[in-house]
Symmetry: C2
Subunit: 308 residues, 2 copies
């Protein structure tokens, strides 16, 4: 059900990164597609199933990437898509959602406020609410990244996964733990948006009052209980990284791999930078999960300091 | 014989480019692999064949990308690789050749002088001379890009191919003309390095005394007669573009597609920019053939002016 354009994405060693990171590093590149993130794997499933049913409309809350992906998948199938996002989301994400013919509604708050608004719209209009990470299709779609990884799993030791709502981490984690149990599944979240990591560590939902991170794609405050339950089954670890490490990771991915990525996609490299001893001599795969970034902000981060 | 890592590269529509270009544009992305260009498709063939034979050594001249690719493919098969390049080649290309354990010899001249030196080394040492675009394996490797394109050829009208020595143009052109003859094959070269285009137009080899272009990957002065013969059979057109169009193309690929590319990889977009009427309403594929670029130079080009 997923357009092949979103599948079998590049997976390759980046040796130029390795002197600085002290381990073998491969990237799984999810940015080279029409929506520049892995999210379409899930929205293709959602939209395919929905297109076969009755009312052909859906609404989702999004930090930006899910909304863009649902807009793309919905447009391809004649669905009426509404996206609710924070007005503080990167302009490039909001612009692309509009360009894909979705109705975009902005809330004067963060992603968790957008979730409330999307739920209200769904109830009022009687249309499908697509809940990222809770709706199993979003996790199953993300899990196809894991299927592609395990085909090559004999060669690596750990996979680093950006942790936001949890679709990518539970989807990939489920597949990896089922089919390549020797591979360590490590989730990475910013210190400035630690709710799911705290929840994983305490084995119960922990919410926070606010977030403070440039990694807009993973900045949630209220973990979904059912997603936490899944994450507890499949994650070997969940680590938190500093903002300066995320920026250093983005800079290294540009300078040594030629990749312009959004902050969430640099979380894996940031995790290696913060704990080189843990990864020394191992082969680590990091999922470069998205590349939708405002270039002005990007240049401010990445150009602000010399490479090392 | 080609490592699958280099095959089945992303091919996708970039709608964000289209308002400025006035046509449907898809990119075939050849930068998401360990050598960041399409050249490994050919060197994988060369090295595989060579590894099965006697003397396990080879030398090539390179503008930078072939050398990096031959170093990669040779290292994987225990071959002894020597690369001859201009000392004016981008540092990032030379650094990566050295990092891949190849012997690098620099000449105080341009690519065509490096070709002469490589031939002398091959003769003196009695080792295999790998001649890009002349050796059929280099064209056959590049032709696999064409095979992947024709699988999707029903949906597009023209393919834009960077023209340097001619391996990519003759390889892709041969496959496209054989299997999807309705697709227009358009080669693109910088006005500052027009020798092969002039040769194609006059149907005889035309050399130039010098080159003057930022597109280092395609800056040759002396077309190879046998390659011209092939190009005459498969190219529908060969066009020349200005430096400012190449820079505008690089800038658009960054801003609208999130891709950092070397100048040669922006030739296709440059060709559309210079002749919007020709492509209006059509669906064009441009092969983004390489991403090895010195970032300081890149920022100087791309950051030097506003987007439009």
């Amino acid at each position: 059900m997923i357009d092949p354009m979103f599948l079998d994405t590049p997976l390759y060693r980046c040796e130029a990164l390795e002197p600085d990171l002290g381990c073998a590093v491969s990237v799984k590149l999810e940015t080279a597609n029409p929506v520049r993130s892995f999210k379409a794997r899930g929205t293709e499933l959602v939209a395919s199933l929905l297109a076969g049913q009755g009312p052909r409309a859906a609404v989702c809350a999004s930090a930006g990437n899910l909304g863009q992906a649902l807009a793309w998948s919905g447009r391809a199938r004649g669905l009426d898509v509404t996206v609710v996002a924070s007005r503080f989301a990167p302009a490039v994400k909001l612009d692309r959602i509009r360009a894909l013919d979705a109705r975009l509604e902005l809330v004067d708050g963060d992603f968790d406020m957008a979730r409330e608004r999307a739920a209200a719209i769904a109830e009022h209009d009687g249309i499908r609410l697509v809940e990222d990470s809770l709706d199993l299709e979003t996790c199953e779609g993300a899990a196809t990244v894991g299927l592609e990884l395990v085909d090559a799993a004999s060669s690596f030791d750990a996979v680093l996964i950006a942790l936001g709502g949890g679709a990518l981490a539970t989807g990939v984690g489920h597949v990896v733990k089922a089919l390549a149990p020797g591979v360590e599944v490590i989730c990475v979240q910013p210190l400035g948006a630690p709710a799911m990591t705290y929840s994983w560590r305490r084995r119960r939902v922990v919410t926070t009052d606010s977030t403070d991170t440039i990694a807009d794609g993973v900045a949630g405050r209220r973990p979904i209980p059912a997603v936490l339950d899944d994450l507890l089954l499949v994650a070997d670890d969940a680590v938190l990284v500093r903002e300066e490490s995320i920026i250093a990771g983005m800079r290294m991915l540009l300078h040594h791999a030629g990749l312009v990525v959004e902050p969430s996609a640099a979380l894996g490299v940031a995790a290696i930078l913060e704990d080189r001893d843990r990864f020394a001599g191992r082969h680590v795969v990091t999922i470069v999960c998205g590349g939708n970034v405002d270039l002005d902000a990007y240049h401010g981060w990445v150009g602000a300091a010399p490479l090392r």
